[in-house]
Symmetry: C2
DNA sequence: TAGATTGTTAATCGATTAACAATC
DNA sequence: TAGATTGTTAATCGATTAACAATC
């Protein structure tokens, strides 16, 4: 029903930022906020915030602003946070383990249920209560547990084949940390590629720009 | 000199993707590529690629396309990859260690020189040859080594103060993996915030969209 | 009631695409 | 020379900002 209007990519990439800021405000016991104040805190315009939110409904109130807790719930609804997606993690190397141990999956409404690796020494161990299983058990365990999301932390050369295998296992979304990009068009399910190097290169670019003018 | 035209944010965020793709093509021994072929492989339009690159100069040749190796060098120039930035890493927890061990800093022309932590058991250890130092030595070591970039992998509540301290130590850019966003306007140096949760929430959004229509 | 602030419409601005002369 | 493909200009498209009536 909220699917009628097309929501642009730009809007979608701002929504998680709104959500983070609102969760922080809620923690600080802020009960209400105007688009004006929210904009100031986030470095955006009030107009843009109202425009973005109005894609999904009228969540505010004239003369009052937005109720922080209510808006959080609305955003969780938009993202499906409440529906608690189940995730499997592929590759329990340094990065995979760092995610299992440190990343707050529940913030996004995601719950890791198992990790997989080919490394003998890792299989059987658990990290924050999540067991590492042997990769050959993937089909078996997915058939039983029906995970929604696969988190890929494996070397780049294995990613393409593994992603296809996971889609056959029924996962409906892929969160890809490997160095090789995956494409939704190839796989048939939504993909988010996380490329650390892109971010670091952008930083280097901006540093170069910041350095150049005055010197 | 390439600083005359203003280059939009959208262009800057595509440049690292071009660079990754070209590096991959170079590995596969591809010597030349047209904007048309590059666009097809990346899911963009040829026009956009030519427009983007022309912000920085005429790197192609009519009737031929782009020389892959030459274009790689041009992009490295744009990002300052060749100048080899030196980085310190703050917080040698799971994520910090995962970066030190796995992430290919040199791909971006960055070289980690030291890590810092307050944890006694970590101080003195090395990861991939990078020593973990005590945090109280930060000013001393920065005074001696003049790092360009700080990589922040510390808990959210410490980030703001630590970032300011690093800027006083002379770092010119901050790569922030903590859950709290930093802003260039507050710090006076370029910042890249990496928010895993934003990416995962976007994935959840797209999964919800993909699921809704047919069912 | 008066003040504040929304949701929405219209105006502006910027980014992407299309077209094509230039030229390898 | 003919074919291919660039860099750039103009046209289109979309996203952001400004303005304001509606209303809490």
């Amino acid at each position: 029903m909220e699917n009628t209007k097309h929501v642009s990519k730009a809007v979608i990439s701002r929504l998680p930022r709104y959500y983070r800021m609102l969760r922080r405000l809620a923690e600080e016991k802020v009960k209400r906020i105007s688009s004006k104040d929210l904009a100031a805190q986030m470095g955006l315009t009030a107009s843009q915030i109202r425009q973005d939110l109005s894609c999904f409904g009228g969540f505010g109130q004239q003369g009052y602003g937005y109720n922080v807790d209510k808006l959080i719930v609305e955003l969780e609804c938009i993202f499906g946070v409440a529906s608690s997606q189940r995730a499997v993690l592929l590759g329990a190397g340094n990065l995979g383990r760092a995610l299992l141990r440190n990343f707050d999956f529940s913030f996004c409404g995601v719950r890791p249920i198992a990790a997989f690796d080919t490394e003998e020494d890792l299989v059987g161990r658990t990290f924050r209560g999540i067991p590492v299983c042997a990769l050959y058990e993937l089909e078996l365990i997915c058939g039983r547990e029906h995970p929604d999301i696969a988190v890929l932390c494996v070397p780049g050369d294995q990613v393409q084949a593994l992603a296809a295998r996971l889609v056959r296992c029924g996962v409906r979304g892929i969160w890809n940390f490997s160095s090789v990009s995956l494409r939704e068009d190839d796989l048939g399910v939504p993909v988010e590629n996380v490329h650390f190097s892109d971010s670091l290169m952008r930083l280097c670019y901006h540093m170069k720009e910041a350095g150049a003018p005055q010197e």
